[in-house]
Amino acid sequence: MTNCVKLPLSDGFTSEHALRSRWGPDARRRAVRWFVVVGLVASAAALLLGFAATRTTDGTQVAAALGATAVAVTALACFATALVVRFAEAVGWLLARLAFLIFIGAVVGTVVVAWVPALLYQHVDAIGPPGTLTVDNLQASLGDGAAARLAAYGLWPLQFRLTRDIITMVGAIGFVSIFASFAIWWERKVAGRIQSRLGPMRVGGWHGWAQSIADGLKLVQKEDICLEGADRRLFFLAPYIVFVPALTIFLALPFSAAWVGRDLDVGLILIFAMLGVGVVGVLLGGWASNDKWSMFGAMREACQMISYEIPLGFSLLVPLMIAGTIRLTTIGDLQAGGFWTWLAFSNPFAFVAAVIFFIATLASCKRAPFDLPEAESELVAGYMTEYSGFRWALFMFAEYAEMFAVGALGAILFFGAWHSPLPASWGAELAHGAIWQQALHGLLFSGPLWLIAKGFFFVFVQIWLRWTLPRIRIDQVMYTCIQVLLPLALVILLGNTFWGLWVRNGSGLAIGANVVLSALGVILMAGFVWFVAYGFLNRRALVGTLAVDHLPGA
């Protein structure tokens, strides 16, 4: 408290008084005591229930076991909270020092946690056809004893698609929340670097890593405002019409051949449809706000999206025609044989289609240079001007979720999906080996980590473009779409058709185009890496020395 700035508050107290009265050592000691007492009571209850679960054999066993688990978790949470409150200074110090390690650990931990359901599904599916298994079937595969019985009860719901869908949606909500929090911080840091400043530096210690968490806490506490004269029902409904389709994308988006919520035959069209449905929410929100800025933003969004859906749809057709299917997992597995088999490098038209796809998705995600719907310098915040608090946060979450979704979709359709640049056949033995060999295969050859990495790369490109390119006018947006992208998309669609009809696989022309385009891809990627390295090595030439001194590794 020695370095606390004393601000006079309205009632004569200083901020130091206010802090001490609420969060002083006494209050903390009391809180620790309460948490320990509650934790002790909960663990006693957990012990009792667990004892009861081992004694009974009928249906009450499950209830008792579930209750015991719940209470035990509560007890653990209480003890952990008590420890954190008791050693708050030490915990804060550790968090600040180890933030980066904790972040990496959290990512790895998340992947491991996400892997567990996949292994469990595999186990359940191996026993028998889903939907017909009983607890006894499951226990037979696990062995005797109370533990096996409990595990069987735990596995039993996993055979139903409904349970799996719920798990997928919960996972999607978790992924979207974490990704959006991370990406918002990331965007601010990248924007700072591009503008030779620091970006958020305070919250959490290491490079302001907890800024988004603090922002989230702030947003949840904000007042939920609805203007007088606004259409209240539509105003409150609109954020959900934007957010729910953005989540639904993740139900059909495969993270790898096995990691997909629902491996739909129509997965690609479903994602395309969901990108379109979200726009209706934007338009309704903008209209219902009864505000000129919102209305302008919403109308711009509608014009932009209706126009850009056409070149987007045409560019999606090119990989579809090459693969001959709309099932995203099949399209992804076509590209398993090294980076030269990626669809973008298969013929010149597909390469151009990848570029058109990227530009059209920039427009559909409302990212610069197509961010007219929320143009800060002209329309305040466009369609979200009148929103506050959690509803505003939903719009932001949906935007970042869509950014990742289209980045990942681009990777699946054009850039090798979940496969590394190495041919998957090199690691064929690892794929069917022990668990650690499978994990190694996932790291080196093909696995969800690769798709996430590619998705992050495209999100980075979107951020990079946003802070580099100026915003274009609405007539220029329309010109780009209708007079440039649309004819180009039609030409590549026709060209791709003729290529597929006339150029045989393995002919000189096909191989030549493949080699040239793959080389072009390698040169582009190498150029990107070289630019990054050049910028880092010559960072002393930048304007802001403060930013230079804080670059990671500097």
Binding site: G131, F160, L162, G229, D231, R233, L234, L237, L264, D265, V266, I269, L270, F272, A273, M274, G276, V277, V279, V280, L283, L284, W287, A288, N290, M295, M299, A302, C303, M305, I306, E309, G324, T325, I326, R327
Partner: protein, 176 residues
């Protein structure tokens, strides 16, 4: 609850959504609210298709009608200069005519439902309870036995496009 029990529950929830939004679409006096209710109805029908394991139809319904509703809202807002003040109320004769048409439609539908022999379990896809994940087969049907209707619809759409382009150029016609 069994799997079919869940499906029945889902059906009634979605059906309530469809019926409720259809009613809202008729009752509402504001054009944007009408359009959003329409979106609820058409999206609910897409959900019904999903429940019937017709994934392709459901997804296409969403693609077509989400965009369609969007355009309805855009035009609704653009054509009504003061979007908040205007209340659209039907005349009495219009309401009566609508009622007569709806009653005739209802009678026809109920008649068909009551007299048709249903063979639900005949279809292998329905019997197995799995979605018929075969867009390729659908496409082959469309470009094989049903080629003529498919092409006729395309020609119709082309005619509509040409008509729209002609109507959208009043300036050039006056210049001539």
């Amino acid at each position: 609850m069994t799997a079919s029990g869940w499906e029945t529950l889902a059906f009634y929830l979605v059906a309530a959504l469809v019926a409720g939004s259809a009613l809202g679409c008729v009752i509402a006096t504001n054009i944007v609210r009408m359009a959003s209710c329409l979106l609820g109805t058409l999206g609910g029908v897409a959900l019904l298709y999903f429940l019937l394991a017709a994934n392709f139809l459901g997804v296409i319904q969403l693609v077509v009608y989400a965009g369609g509703t969007l355009i309805v809202i855009v035009f609704g807002v653009m054509l009504t200069s003061r979007a908040y003040g205007i209340k659209l109320r039907p005349k009495r004769i219009e309401a009566v005519a609508g009622l007569v048409v709806c009653a005739a439609l209802l009678a026809g539908l109920v008649g068909i439902l009551a007299t048709t022999q249903w063979h639900a379990a005949d279809s292998p896809a329905l019997a197995s309870g799995q979605a018929s994940d075969d867009v390729a087969a659908f496409g082959k049907q469309l470009l094989g036995p049903y080629l003529v209707p498919f092409e006729l619809v395309s020609v119709l759409l082309l005619a509509v496009m040409i008509g729209a382009a002609y109507l959208a150029q009043p300036a050039r016609r006056e210049a001539e």
